[in-house]
């Protein structure tokens, strides 16, 4: 259990970083990238413009950081929501493995997409 405890600050840092970066960035991105083009308020970024922007090293770094940290933010919060909200105390280890596992797998997918496919 000593090992488990020492991991907690690290997971909390990921949770906290993800909470902050998603709080600051996601509302504007949701509005500009998804809602405005979806509602037809504006055309949204053109394919050419977005494709050029996405390949910029700073954009790659930002997109990777935002996605990965947001996923670990979800993993941490959702873990404790299941744990406290539904009182699944006996499934603690399983829930932790599933939530952080999903976040880790999707983070690997993000690295592949942002650095190798793009």
């Amino acid at each position: 259990m000593g090992v488990q405890r020492s991991r907690e600050p690290f997971l909390w840092a990921l949770f906290s970083g993800g909470g902050m970066v998603s709080a600051l960035c996601l509302p504007a991105l949701a509005l500009l990238l998804w809602i405005a083009p979806g509602m037809g308020w504006m055309e949204g970024p053109s394919y050419g413009g977005l494709s050029e922007l996405a390949r910029h090293p700073l954009t790659r770094l930002f997109v990777f950081g935002l996605i990965t940290l947001s996923l670990y933010h979800w993993a941490h919060r959702f873990r404790y929501t299941l744990y406290d909200g539904l009182q699944l105390y006996h499934l603690n280890m399983l829930i932790a493995i599933v939530t952080y596992g999903i976040a880790t797998l999707l983070s690997i997918a993000t690295v592949v997409v942002v650095w190798f496919v793009l």
């Binding site: 949701a30 809602i35 997109v63 996605i67 997409v113």
Partner: protein, 136 residues
């Protein structure tokens, strides 16, 4: 408490709490709602990943993605997503003074200063995204 200690512990008495205990009080419901905003944060992260993936697949695939965004159910759902994301933003930034206790010399930096700094960062980030993305 380390919950491993109570696994298989035969003598403990625990009163049963209903699954929906958090609907009993507004504060509890707000707490669980706040925690569940993380699901929408994850959705936003995955949608952004999907959008980048569609950019890599070429103009036709990206056009199909935009057409999907225009579906009334999808665009309507995304407005709800934005509202929940804003709830996350406000609850998160309002907690900042509690999480961040900073001192300048011997004096503690007042909560208001920390709050204003965080909302300033929100404003700055939002302005930056408008500047980068609008008209691109």
């Amino acid at each position: 408490m380390n919950q491993d200690y109570k696994l298989f512990h035969p003598k403990w008495h625990r009163t049963r709490i209903p699954i929906f205990w958090w609907l009993r009080k507004r504060a509890y419901t707000k707490f669980i709602t706040r925690e569940l905003t993380s699901v929408f944060v994850a959705y936003g992260a995955l949608l952004l990943l999907w959008q980048v993936w569609m950019v890599t697949r070429g103009p036709e695939a990206y056009a199909r993605f935009i057409a999907w965004l225009k579906h009334p159910l999808v665009s309507g759902a995304h407005v709800i997503v934005l509202v929940v994301l804003l709830f996350h933003t406000v609850t998160w930034l309002n907690l900042a003074p509690k999480a961040l206790v900073l001192h300048l010399g011997r004096r503690r930096i007042p909560n208001v200063v920390i709050l204003v700094a965080h909302y300033g960062a929100l404003l700055g980030a939002t302005a930056l995204f408008f500047w980068i993305l609008v008209g691109r």
